[in-house]
């Protein structure tokens, strides 16, 4: 068995309000992500804002991207959402197989 070829990429994680689902996923693709994963999440943060019909329900969006796309996404989110919405976002370094899958040609 051949050893897997690993590529260093960035994992962008966004945790935010459910109402932003459509907007955030559309913008992620516009900013250069090739895909994303959305999972429901719950928790409490500094704002403690719960919105929507199910209090406490939020979402977590993850996307594996290259580092320039990661920066574009983070600054976009900071500019559009940090002031008024409960949104947090961070970047972590990951190693993935099939690295070309996550980068736009």
């Amino acid at each position: 068995m051949e050893p897997a070829v690993l590529t260093r990429l960035r994992l962008v994680t966004i945790v935010g309000e459910t109402v932003l689902r459509e907007r955030l996923t559309r913008q992620l693709l516009e900013w250069g992500a090739t895909g994303y994963t959305v999972t429901p999440s719950s928790g409490k943060g500094s704002r403690g804002i719960r919105t929507g019909d199910v209090p406490g329900e939020g979402l977590r969006i993850e996307a594996v991207v290259d580092s320039s796309t990661a920066e574009r996404i983070l600054s976009g989110i900071a500019g559009l959402y940090f002031e008024h919405f409960s949104v947090i976002a961070w970047v972590s370094e990951v190693q993935v197989v099939r690295g070309d899958k996550y980068v736009r040609p």
Binding site: T18, V19, R23, I49, R50, T51, G52, P55, E83, H84
Partner: protein, 320 residues
């Protein structure tokens, strides 16, 4: 009034709601699984839409024109009265006022269902086309309040997104869609599924749903300390004023006592399902805790426990 209030207080619908609130207050771990709650909500809305459509097919379109026009007018007035009271009396900011006004300009579908069920229980069932009136009352209500907010805050680019959110929300899709299905369904085919959507199963599901609504409302009670006395007074006063306005509108529109009660209860109610996401997207600087607490912790319990019998009383005075 005392007797009607007693009927309402001793109905399992109201009692289940109160139990839900108590369960939350004593910090019981009880709550309906999220999907069951959502499923029951879908069932109740769709059932009402279907029944409304079946009834509508029996009525002539001429009957509905006057109530429709009057309800539409009522839908345009409610956000304006709410906004004016919040700004002038409450001294709240533009965004918060517009955000709360959108909730009070919209309609609580559960209050509507409870009022329908109360009217039927009093042997004065409401007109079959009431779900149509709900759609007509709710849509301009949210739209006007959000427009006030957007205009005052310097224009919003998200009108399309928000209107999509409002018009494709589950309340409107299930009620209006259900009405369309009910309207065109062949009577023999409807008769086969009617026992599931009408009668005992529907009423039982409503009781279970209200139990969970009690938990949801109870969760909000803690926020009352944060939101203050004005909002408590607002949540009750607005319900009574809009209830009276709705009862007058129903009487003028020629609805019966049942229909007038339901229109008054709809008018007195405030949304907590359709309005919050729309407000969040259009007026992000409005504090959602204020509007959700007012509509869920004050207006909704008030309407379920005291309001609906009160509007029934208004209706029996006004309808000849």
């Amino acid at each position: 009034m005392g007797a009607i209030l007693e009927v309402n207080l001793l109905s399992p619908i109201t009692l289940a709601f109160v139990l839900g609130v108590i369960a939350r207050l004593v910090r019981s771990e009880f709550s309906l699984p999220r999907d069951v709650y959502a499923g029951l909500g879908i069932y109740l809305l769709f059932a009402l839409g279907l029944k409304g459509g079946v009834e509508l097919a029996k009525a002539s379109w001429g009957v509905i024109v006057l109530p429709a026009v009057i309800t539409l007018a009522l839908g345009c007035i409610r956000p304006l009265t709410s906004y004016a009271v919040l700004r002038r009396v409450g001294g709240l900011g533009v965004s918060d006022s517009a955000g709360i006004a959108a909730h009070y300009g919209s309609v609580s579908a559960v209050t509507f269902i409870a009022a329908m069920s109360f009217a039927a229980g009093m042997d004065t069932p409401a007109e079959g086309y009431m779900p149509t009136l709900l759609a007509l009352l709710e849509t301009p209500g949210i739209a006007i309040a959000l427009t006030i907010g957007a205009l005052k805050m310097g224009g919003s680019r998200n009108t399309r997104e928000v209107m999509h959110e409002v018009l494709t929300g589950r309340t409107l899709v299930l009620l209006v869609g259900g009405m369309a299905v009910g309207y065109v369904s062949a009577p023999e085919a409807w008769a086969q599924v009617a026992p599931f959507y009408d009668g005992a199963i529907f009423k039982g599901a409503l009781v279970l749903f209200l139990l969970e609504m009690g938990v949801v409302a109870g969760e909000r009670l803690n926020d009352l300390r944060q939101t203050g006395a004005f909002l408590v007074a607002f949540g009750i006063a607005m319900a009574v004023i809009h209830g009276l306005l709705g009862a007058a509108a129903g009487a003028v529109a020629g609805l019966g006592v049942g229909g007038t009660t339901v229109l008054a209860a709809m008018s007195a109610s405030a949304s907590y399902i359709a309005a919050p996401p729309a407000v969040r997207l259009t007026l992000p600087d409005a504090n959602p805790t204020l509007s959700l607490t007012a509509s869920l912790a004050i207006t909704f319990p008030f309407n379920i426990i005291v309001g609906i019998p009160l509007y029934y009383q208004f209706a029996s005075w006004l309808v000849r």
